[in-house]
Symmetry: C2
C-alpha cells in the first residue's frame, strides 16, 4: 500500500505500452467525484455507481483504473493529503510583538483546523484508519506532524531572536496548538457549536500561558481581566 509516497515514483520514459492509454482527465474526474462522496457521505454510504455517474464515466472504467473500492478511497485520500501539504508555511518575518504574532498564528491555526471540510475529512480518515492503519499514518505525516515541524521551526527562530526561551521547541509547538484548540476540538467532533468568543478566549489564554512559560520579557498581563 503506497499511500502518499512521492507523487510520481516511476515515470521513466519506459516504452508506453501499445493500445489506447488511460484517459487522465477521466481519472482526475473520478478521484474528484470519489473524494466528494467519500468525505461527504462516508465510505460505506458511497456507491461506486454514483461516483461513476458524477464523474461522467462508466462504472467499469473505475474498476479498470482502480480495481477496488478501497483503492479508490486510498487514491482520494492521497489527493487530499497532497492538497494538505501546501498549507503549512509560516512567515518567519512578521510584524508586531511576539504576543501579537502568536495570537495571529493561533487564530490562523484554529481557523484552518476548524473548517467544516477538515472536520469531515478527519472523521473519515479516523474511521478508516481502523481498517487501514496506513491511511491514518499518511494523514498524520501530511497534516499534523508537518504542521508541528513547521511551527517548531518558527519557534526556534524566535528563540534565536531572543524573543522566547524554549528548551524543547517540538513540545512547545504541541503545547501551543493544544491550548488553542482546547476542548473545542472535542466539542466540534461531537456536534456542539463552538462560538467565536470561545475560540478567542482559548487563543488568548493560550498566548498568555505560553508567554508565562516561555516568554523572555516579564509578562505584562498575568492576571488580565
Amino acid at each position: 500500500m503506497s499511500i502518499c509516497g512521492s507523487s510520481e515514483p516511476e515515470h521513466k520514459s519506459v516504452r508506453r505500452k501499445a493500445g489506447r492509454p488511460f484517459d487522465a482527465s477521466k481519472r482526475a474526474a473520478i478521484v474528484d467525484a470519489a473524494a466528494h462522496h467519500f468525505f461527504h457521505y462516508g465510505y460505506a454510504a458511497t456507491a461506486i455507481e454514483q461516483v461513476a455517474a458524477d464523474a461522467g464515466v462508466s462504472k467499469v472504467t473505475i474498476y479498470n483504473q482502480f480495481g477496488d473500492k478501497r483503492a479508490l478511497f486510498v487514491a482520494a485520500v492521497e489527493r487530499e493529503c497532497e492538497k494538505l501539504r501546501g498549507h503549512f508555511s509560516i512567515e518567519h518575518a512578521a510584524p508586531g510583538s511576539i504576543r501579537d504574532r502568536l495570537t495571529a498564528i493561533g487564530q490562523a491555526i484554529v481557523a484552518f483546523l476548524f473548517r467544516p471540510e477538515m472536520l469531515q475529512f478527519e472523521r473519515r480518515i479516523a474511521a478508516e484508519t481502523e481498517a487501514e492503519p496506513a491511511i491514518g499514518a499518511a494523514f498524520l505525516e501530511a497534516g499534523p506532524w508537518r504542521m508541528k515541524h513547521g511551527f517548531a521551526a518558527y519557534l526556534s527562530h524566535a528563540v534565536s531572536a531572543g524573543e522566547l526561551a524554549i528548551p524543547d521547541p517540538m513540545l512547545a509547538a504541541e503545547q501551543f496548538v493544544s491550548l488553542c484548540k482546547g476542548m473545542g476540538d472535542l466539542e466540534r467532533r461531537f456536534g456542539a457549536i463552538v462560538t467565536p468568543e470561545q475560540r478567542d478566549r482559548r487563543i488568548l489564554g493560550a498566548v498568555e500561558m505560553f508567554l508565562a512559560a516561555y516568554g523572555t520579557t516579564p509578562s505584562l498581563a498575568p492576571t488580565d481581566r
Copy 2:
C-alpha cells in the same frame, strides 16, 4: 429522543398491564451484547441477528423491546454514558506538593482517556453524531464536560488554599487537560502508537507550564534538565 435523561423517568406504580411482562434480564443481555458489537465493530458492521445470538435471544425479541436498530444503539450509548458518570471524582485532599498532585492527576486523566475501549467508544460516538447530534451531546455531557467541571472545582479548591492563582478555573481545567493530551490525542485516533515516555514528557511539560502560569511559588525548575 431521550438520550441520557434521568434513568427512570416514570416508574410510578402504574397498574402493570396484564400478560407476561418484559424480561429485564434479557433486556440487559441484549444491551450488553449490542454495546459490545456496536463499539467493537461499528454500527453498520453490526448485525442484529448476531447481537441476538450473543444475547441468547431471538431477533424478534429485540425488535419487540427496542423497535429499531437505531434505538438499540441509543440504548447502548445510554448505558455506556451511565457508566462514564461514575468516573470523575478527584480527591480534594491528597498528599504531596501541588506539583506532585497535578502530575498524578495528569497521569490518571491520560491513563483513563487513552484506554483502547475509550478510543473505540469515541470513534463510534463521533461517527454517529453526524446522523444523530443528540448522541454527541449526551456524550459531551456525561464525559468531557463533567470531567471539566470536576477538575475546575478541584482547581478552585487549590486556589482557596493559596496554592494556585487562577483567574478562570474552567479555562485552566481545559488547558491542563489539553496540555496533557497534547498531540497524543490525534496520534492515537489515527493509529500511531504513543509511548509511555511521550506521555510522561507531555504530562511533565503540562505541569511545568501550568505552574509557570498559575503557580504562586516561584517555579523552581523553569529550565529543567
